[in-house]
Amino acid sequence: MDALVIDDSRAMRRVLRRIVEPMGFNVLEAEHGQDGLEKLDEHEDSVGLILVDWNMPVMDGLQFVKTLRADSERRRINIVMVTTETEPTQMARALMAGVDEFVMKPFTPDILTEKLKLIGVSLPAQENVTG
């Protein structure tokens, strides 16, 4: 299963890759929302998790989520927003748009892992262990 990491910071994409790869995900990277939509087109059925930043050039995270959730085929993909945006009203907008969970930067790996458990993301590595 693929995890799509969308962030304009290469350093942050690397951080997220290092967290989710050991969970068993194959990581795809995108630099902004538009790039993320194109990556999704290329990997139509294999993406099970999206980690997306909010503030990015070309297409921001909120617009990406709105576009994705408008597509009935892709409504089921779990989306976690990983962002410095921490205003409750803004967070409420993102949740309304279809974000499943929020991780506020800075964060530790276990915070992201707990958030994935909260929304019931099944981790490929665990599935392999339990058969």
Binding site: T86, P88, A92, L95, E101, V103, M104, P106, I111, E114
Partner: protein, 275 residues
């Protein structure tokens, strides 16, 4: 592996002090834990090292400093919705059950024992508001107790750092129940007022408590000797309602300690029901 630079004598003194004040059995091999927790206490009092702090405590009785040492070593790690499953058991099994069972009195009492900064009892408060709004009209008492004055002050304020609310807290509940206050997050007044906090040391005389329907005593008994565990369970049993429910930590059990409880598996959680 971490190695402590403290002398065995110093570690032994700290372990004895903590045991006498709280009955909590610290493992003497965990000198590094003592070092990590007491370092800030020593520095805040101007001591050059933990050994100096301990020498000072030995030279004359300093009640406040001694209390700070005990508090630093007995404050439990906590987080919102820690381990999740017990809260899911409340939502799916126990809240519906108690809503029927207590419909006559329209009351529900829940106790978070060793509550630290209150995340456990406030998690329960948020679940009640979110999933059982019909209980708003009930007399619901949510009590948190701890032996540390400092954590009780923090719990009463209901103010948490970003890291604390980032951990384990579902984002929809964060947005609904908290206000941003500078760099911190504070529970809204209507949530804060659902819980009250009170000092309680398990091995000292207990204050009067209401009859409890549900007790959370998670990751507490592991710190005590078998004899103290039995004594604590007996005292807890006395304040529980018939068929009341006790939650322990995943590594804890009443089996072999108290025969009054029956182990129940519900959803993905285990709890102990008073027979």
């Amino acid at each position: 592996m971490s190695v402590s630079t403290l002398t065995p004598d110093c570690i032994s003194y700290v372990c004895t002090t903590v045991r006498e004040r709280s009955a909590i059995e610290l493992d003497g091999s965990k000198g590094y834990l003592i070092e990590a927790r007491l370092g800030p206490v020593a520095r805040s009092h101007g001591f050059g090292s933990i050994d100096e702090l301990v020498s000072s405590l030995r030279s004359r009785r300093q009640v406040k400093l001694e209390a700070q040492v005990v508090e630093a070593l007995t404050t439990n790690e906590t987080s919102f919705f820690r381990d999740l499953h017990p809260f899911e058991a409340l939502r799916k099994v126990l809240f519906p059950e108690f809503r029927d069972r207590n419909s006559g009195t329209k009351s529900l009492n829940i106790w978070s024992a060793a509550c630290s900064t209150g995340q456990e009892i406030f998690s329960i408060a948020m679940y009640l508001r979110e999933h059982f709004p019909d209980l708003n009209s009930w007399k619901v008492q949510l009590l948190g107790t701890d032996l540390s004055d400092d954590v009780l002050v923090r719990a009463t304020e209901g103010k948490f750092s970003q890291i604390e609310v980032n951990r384990g807290m579902p984002a929809p509940l964060l947005v609904k129940n908290f206000d941003r206050v500078g760099l911190q997050w504070q529970l809204k007044p209507e949530v804060r007022k659902m819980a009250r906090f009170q000092k309680l040391n398990f091995i000292e005389r207990w204050p009067p408590l209401p009859v409890m329907d549900i007790v959370f005593l998670r990751n507490v008994l592991i710190y005590f000797s078998p004899e103290t565990k039995r004594s604590i369970l007996e005292k807890i049993r006395r304040v529980m309602a018939p068929n009341g429910v006790l939650f322990l930590g995943a590594a804890e059990t009443t089996i072999g300690l108290d025969t009054s409880f029956e182990r129940v598996q519900a959803d993905k959680s285990v709890f102990y029901r008073l027979k």
